[in-house]
């Protein structure tokens, strides 16, 4: 039996295949504009690898979860991140998921999400903020992080991505350096994420999942803001898909 987790996120779609006695296999592709089409592409890829889905159990998650018509069960990304993050951390933990359109705090105990918090309808403090600012600075996201490492953060105080963009434009007009602005952008996201999760209790182990999970520099900045070590996760972006696959095995 194969257990498959599919996490259709706002920016990227992640797939995890679990097979008896084998390491999990992860795959990622852009979600694009239509999650039904993305779900179809994932199905074709799965059929290519597995031949058939008949001896597979599929759990879908993420904001596009209802588009995966061949899923046996649909579970929210919060429960899936809780399960997958717990497995990656190897113990009870707090999971901070910085996604494309939202940021989540999840408290995972025995693999189960017992408490969670999400940012409200606002892109500041999410991956989207970094994407918008990188575009504005004419950088790729990787370049932005490289420059941020050597910059001295300029405070960006706006709580709104659109207003923050205006703030950055003003700084550009003043001739501030790209390095300092890039550092300011990363710092701003770290601060907003820290402010959100500090409303809740943090477990002794705190990990990052989502698109920024493998970014050591972001983890450092966030650790600094929280006054607590936050662990980056190499495959953290797959936590949702991994959790979905594990839940397919355990619940179906």
């Amino acid at each position: 039996m194969n257990y498959i987790g599919i996490d259709i996120g706002s920016t990227a779609s992640k797939v995890c295949i679990l097979r008896e006695g084998a390491d999990p296999v992860f795959e990622v592709l852009p979600t694009g504009w239509n999650s039904k089409i993305t779900a179809g592409i994932i199905k074709d890829n799965l059929l290519e690898v597995l031949g058939t889905l008949e001896d597979s159990k599929v759990v879908a998650t993420g904001y596009g979860r209802i588009s995966v018509e061949y899923a046996d069960k649909v579970i929210t990304e919060i429960t899936c991140h809780g399960r997958g993050g717990y497995e990656m951390a190897g113990c009870d933990c707090t999971i901070i998921d910085v996604g494309g359109q939202d940021t989540k705090y999840i408290q995972a105990v025995n693999g189960k999400a017992v408490d969670f918090l999400m940012n409200d309808k606002c892109a500041a403090g999410t991956g989207k903020f970094i994407e918008v600012m990188a575009n504005r600075l004419g950088l790729t996201i990787d370049e932005l992080f490289e420059l941020a490492k050597v910059g001295k953060p300029i405070p960006i105080s706006s709580l709104c991505t659109v207003f923050a963009e205006s703030e950055v434009i003003n700084y550009m007009g003043e001739g501030k350096s790209k390095e300092d602005l890039a550092a300011g952008v990363v710092d701003s996201v770290a601060l907003k994420v820290a402010t959100l999760v500090q409303r809740k209790t943090l477990a002794p182990t705190v990990i990052i999942t989502g698109g920024l999970s493998a970014n050591d520099f972001f983890a450092e900045r966030l650790s600094e803001k929280l006054g607590k070590i936050v662990l980056p996760m190499k495959d953290g972006r797959f936590a949702g898909a991994y959790g979905a696959a594990l839940l397919a095995k355990e619940k179906l």
């Binding site: 904001y63 579970i75 929210t76 990304e77 919060i78 429960t79 939202d102 189960k112 999400a113 017992v114 408490d115 969670f116 999400m118 409200d120 309808k121």
Partner: protein, 422 residues
């Protein structure tokens, strides 16, 4: 319906714009109410009232006015209906629960005002609600700063009396509220030309108490392990409570309760396997069914509302033993001051209420709902969450408005919350 058009025209309504509102209602009702399975048959009365929400009751009010009767529009659970009916007037809630009215209100109000207040002004100034047109006078109350200041704008277009609600609950405040009720008596007496007497006030204290008792009876059926009625249906009943004729309403709710009690005896369950949810927070004026609909299509069943369209409206009776007008007024004041709104400080009574209701209704979790920009409930939400955590009760906080643009994000949170309850 042709009669309705004539009535609306005579009420000076903006018919073209009102038609747009009428067009969306049947679809919304179908999606929210008719899609539910195994509904109680006796919801038929409330369905009918809803289907002709701007026809049946306004027509009665118009007839009443033809005989010289006066109609008072109210906005809040603190305004005592007893006094208005005792003076021979009719009190009717003015709802303000639709996004349809929000842009109209935004012409007058800052963007960071709650949608309820925006809709209140929009409904009046856009001339698209017959209740707002029929009322001879509005009775406001100084609950929050937003409403207080908005009444000043509203009062330029319609006679409006504001009751000054105390913000603390010391003995001096109870006396103060009794004074405010006496002031209201003077206002309604002047408007109606009728006196409030010991006889008619005693009569209406009993009648409004009977209405509260029947709502409590309705809520008691929801304490059963198998839910005999959905939260969405009960919310509609609570919303209609604000504007229907109180005696007829009491009678119709009692008929519904007969059926529900039989359902409880027969073990009928409208939502098998669903998680039991207590909603706390801001009022849900008609036609705001957003959160109930989301919760009840995400694996939950709402079994109680600690809101102004819930327990805050009917819990606690006015003591009926008063014999003089002064005693009766003080008894009315004491009952209304027992309502725990976030506009008071401190408001620890509300935390006790939510914890008590969570136990009484044996809920799996609490969803605390805050209308966007309702500062008092929003700030209080922090402490409420702490208190519930201490009591070992799970809670999810949601902030939202009347639009549908956040429905999917909220659905994700509600589904995830329900998953954590398993």
């Amino acid at each position: 319906m042709a009669d309705n058009q004539k009535m609306w025209a005579e009420l000076g309504m903006n018919l073209e714009m009102h038609d747009m509102l009428c067009e969306v209602l049947p679809g919304a009702v179908g999606d929210v109410f008719m899609s539910q399975e195994n509904r109680p048959e006796k919801m038929d009365f409330f369905d009918m009232v809803l289907a002709d929400v701007h026809g049946i009751r306004p027509a009665e009010l118009v007839e009443f006015k033809k005989t010289g009767g006066k109609v008072f529009g109210t906005f809040c659970a603190y305004v005592p209906d007893e006094v208005i009916f005792a003076a021979g007037g009719i009190a009717t809630g003015l709802c303000a629960g639709s996004q349809f009215w929000v842009p109209g209100g935004e012409r007058y109000l800052p963007a960071n005002t709650c949608p309820l207040i925006k809709a209140m002004l929009g409904a009046r100034f856009d001339k698209t609600c017959p209740f707002y047109r029929t009322a001879d006078m509005y009775i406001g109350e100084s609950t929050c700063d937003g409403k207080k200041k908005a009444y000043e704008i509203l009062g330029t277009d319609v006679p409006l009396h504001v009751m000054d609600l105390p913000q603390m609950k010391r003995p001096v405040d109870m006396e103060k509220w009794a004074y405010e009720i006496k002031e209201l008596i003077k206002v309604v007496e002047a408007e109606t030309g009728n006196k409030v007497t010991e006889e008619n006030l005693a009569e209406w204290i009993k009648k409004i108490n009977a209405k509260r008792a029947t709502l409590q009876r309705l809520y008691n059926t929801r304490k059963a392990a198998k839910a005999p009625i959905s939260g969405t249906d009960t919310l509609l009943v609570s919303q209609i409570a604000y504007y229907d004729d109180p005696e007829r309403f009491t009678q119709m709710v009692n008929i519904l309760c007969d059926e529900l009690e039989q359902r409880v005896a027969d073990g009928v369950d409208v939502a098998p396997g669903a998680k039991r949810i207590l909603i706390s927070g801001t009022p849900m004026a008609i036609p705001n069914w957003k959160m109930h609909n989301i919760i009840e299509t995400s694996g939950g069943i709402v079994v109680c509302e600690e809101t102004c369209t819930g327990t805050r409206y009917f819990e606690g009776m006015v003591d009926e033993t008063g014999t003089t007008l002064d005693e009766m007024v003080q008894n009315i004041a004491d009952r209304y001051m027992g309502i725990n709104c976030a506009c008071f400080t401190p408001n620890t009574g509300r935390f006790d209420d939510v914890i008590r209701l969570a136990k009484e209704y044996n809920v799996d979790g609490v969803i605390d709902i805050n209308l966007k920009f309702c500062q008092t409930y929003d700030i209080e939400g922090y402490t409420l969450e702490q208190k519930l955590n201490e009591a070992g009760i799970k809670v999810l906080g949601i902030e939202t408005d009347y639009t549908d643009n956040d429905a999917q994000q909220i659905k994700t949170r509600v589904e995830a919350f329900i998953e954590t309850l398993e």
